[in-house]
């Protein structure tokens, strides 16, 4: 059982990473980060249930993760909105004024 969950989480993490690295839409990039965090959650829950030493801690941890992820997403979106006001684009490629 554990293996399946871990694999799923790994896939999810990779999809998230792929999204962060490749997607041009800034919102999707932020969402991809959430995907990665969710992969972590999946891991934690799986370990908490099927791990070597099953314990509740993993679930507690995942609660924290979710909360914090929400806060992070909120700030991320807020930053993005402020940025959008200045640049009028959500295209990540065009956020390259700061360079070299």
């Amino acid at each position: 059982m554990l293996g399946s969950y871990l694999t799923l989480a790994a896939v999810l993490f990779c999809i998230g990473l792929y999204g962060v690295l490749v997607k041009r839409n800034a919102i999707i990039v932020l969402l991809s980060i959430e995907l990665m965090l969710n992969a972590v959650n999946l891991n934690l829950i799986a370990f908490s249930k099927y791990g070597v030493v099953p314990s509740l801690t993993g679930q507690v941890f995942s609660l924290f993760t979710m909360t914090v992820a929400a806060a992070e997403a909120a700030v991320g979106i807020a930053v993005l909105i402020a940025l959008y006001r200045n640049r009028a684009t959500v295209n990540v490629d065009e956020y390259d004024e700061l360079r070299r």
Binding site: L17, I33, G76
Partner: protein, 515 residues
């Protein structure tokens, strides 16, 4: 399941510094609402300073308290919440550093931060405080969850701090980049942590270290995965090369005080976390066989990252013309240097890695805070942050130029400054543990960094400026500049008190290796 032990009233006194800051942050936020729109927000800045000072006093009290416990022959650690929060000397020392550094940053920004730069100045000050709380939590935690929460508290507030100039595209872009990088880094660290939890069944660092040795036998690959994901995440957070590319962009876009906060406090906190997690490996793994091999691998990975950071940071800064980006890259190199002591073997001759690290960190705080303060003053007068803003400083502000020279000497590691002795200790440790290659890289990059730091000096002393107008330095900024310069020199001439102090209160065994 002691993990679910609850917080008691008596525990709050151990949380006093953090609580003081939290209270200050709330009060200042309220004050900001109450104050009329046109009133100067410097008042909030002073308030923040007071809050930091109060927290510092509490930390000092903790140190005294722990010391008297040691004298009384008792365990010198206060474990809260079942060991997920530890008040120990390691944490206390770093907390002092963080608080001091933040105070310097606040002081320097009082007066120099223009309205145009940070339109909502009040917010800037009271957002700094939760960020510091996050850093302090990181320094003090004994549990992965606490570590994570502290880290995120710091990160999320930093995102805001970076983007606080909300009308500026650059600030927003920097904030966005920081969010993406920070988020990804958090995800990596967390992913690693999840495996660590998975193979040991606990998030408590002390428990993990106890269980890791056995776990290695069965889940070798997962242990590697756990640590490598964490290493990558930390490398991103610390901007170790080649995970550093975001740092110059973010530093450049952020308002200068925020930059200097990122460069000092955020970095220091990440190091605190790194220490918390990695020093345990010494207890988790024995000194022989497979376990030692894994440990060696992990520390080697860190050492390689440190070396890469030193090399890339310095090389990248060689031709950099923007002062802030230059300091960002210098921060990359310094992160590498700060990482060196951790990677050194603890053996029969050498175990003073923590003194080496903290001493250099303190020196780094002063030299960086000072340099950023000078940069603030200079860019305020010239309107840009290119290196050429420093041209002709010898004529325009001779005393500031002199102070900057001292700071640069410290950055470059020239005697007799804090930077010099910091590097000297680290090098001595490296030589004692026979890590000659690392010492050689540290020395070589130090030499190359002369070119980088002396490019400021060339501008200040050997070029004529765009104008002959004197550079106005506001009093608080001036105080910070001179405080930092004087401290940098003093650390070089008399490093003994601090090192004696560190050695007197800190104990590797008690703070890290004991349960």
């Amino acid at each position: 399941m002691e993990a679910l032990q609850t917080l008691t009233w008596s525990d709050t006194r151990y949380l006093a510094p953090e609580l003081a800051l939290a209270v200050a942050a709330v009060l200042l936020a309220l004050l900001d609402l109450i104050l009329p729109r046109r009133a100067s927000r410097d008042l909030i800045g002073w308030g923040a300073l007071v809050g930091l000072l109060a927290a510092g006093v509490f930390v000092g009290w903790h140190i005294y308290d722990l010391q008297s416990a040691v004298d009384a022959g008792k365990e010198p650690i206060r474990n809260l919440l079942g060991g997920s929060y530890r008040v120990d000397d390691f944490g206390n020392l770093l907390k002092l550093v963080f608080l001091g550094a933040t105070a310097l940053i606040v002081l320097a920004s009082l007066g120099t931060v223009k309205k145009a730069e940070v339109p909502i100045k009040g917010e800037f000050y009271y957002l700094l405080l939760p960020a510091v709380i996050g850093a302090m939590v990181m320094a003090s935690s004994g549990d992965l969850i606490t570590l994570f929460v502290g880290m995120e508290l710091l990160s999320i507030t930093s995102y805001v701090l970076v983007g606080v100039r909300k009308r500026s595209g650059a600030s927003g872009e920097a904030a966005f980049k920081y969010v993406v990088t920070g988020g990804t880094a958090s995800a990596f660290i967390l992913y690693g942590m999840s495996f660590l939890y998975g193979v040991t069944g606990s998030t408590r660092l002390s428990d993990i270290s106890g269980a890791l040795g056995d776990a290695l036998a069965d889940y070798r690959a997962l242990v590697y995965v756990a640590f490598f994901f964490m290493i990558v995440g930390f490398a991103l957070k610390l901007a170790l090369a080649p995970f550093h590319a975001w740092a110059p962009d973010v530093y450049q876009g952020a308002p200068t005080p925020a930059t200097s906060f990122l460069a000092i406090v955020a970095k220091g906190a990440a190091f605190a976390m790194l220490y918390r997690i990695f020093i345990f490996l010494y207890r988790a793994f024995g000194s022989e066989g497979d376990q030692a091999a894994v440990r060696e691998d992990l520390f080697l990975a860190l050492a390689v990252l440190a070396a890469a950071a030193m090399i890339v940071g310095v090389a990248g800064a060689l031709k950099q013309q923007n002062a802030k980006r230059l300091l960002a890259l210098s921060g990359v190199a310094n992160a590498g240097i700060l990482l060196v002591p951790l990677t050194l073997e603890v053996n029969s001759l050498h175990s003073s890695m923590f003194s080496e690290f903290v001493y250099y960190l303190i020196a780094y705080v002063f030299m960086n805070a000072g340099a950023f303060a000078v940069l603030t003053a200079v860019s305020r007068s010239s309107g840009h942050e290119e290196l050429s803003a420093f041209a002709g400083m010898y004529h325009r502000a001779p005393w500031t130029a002199a102070a900057m020279t001292a700071l640069l000497c410290s950055l470059a590691g020239l005697p007799v400054t804090g930077g010099f002795f910091g590097k000297l200790f680290i090098l001595f440790g490296a030589v004692q543990t026979k890590a000659y290659w690392l010492a050689a890289i540290l020395l070589a990059t130090t030499v190359a960094s002369y070119y980088v730091y002396f490019s400021f000096i060339r501008q200040m002393y050997m070029r004529s400026g765009e104008s002959d107008q004197a550079v106005a330095v506001p009093v608080p900024t001036g105080i910070v500049i001179w405080l930092c310069a004087a401290a940098s020199v003093a650390l070089g001439i008399l490093p003994k008190p601090i090192l004696d102090w560190i050695d007197g209160i800190f104990s590797l065994g008690a703070d890290f290796l004991a349960r």
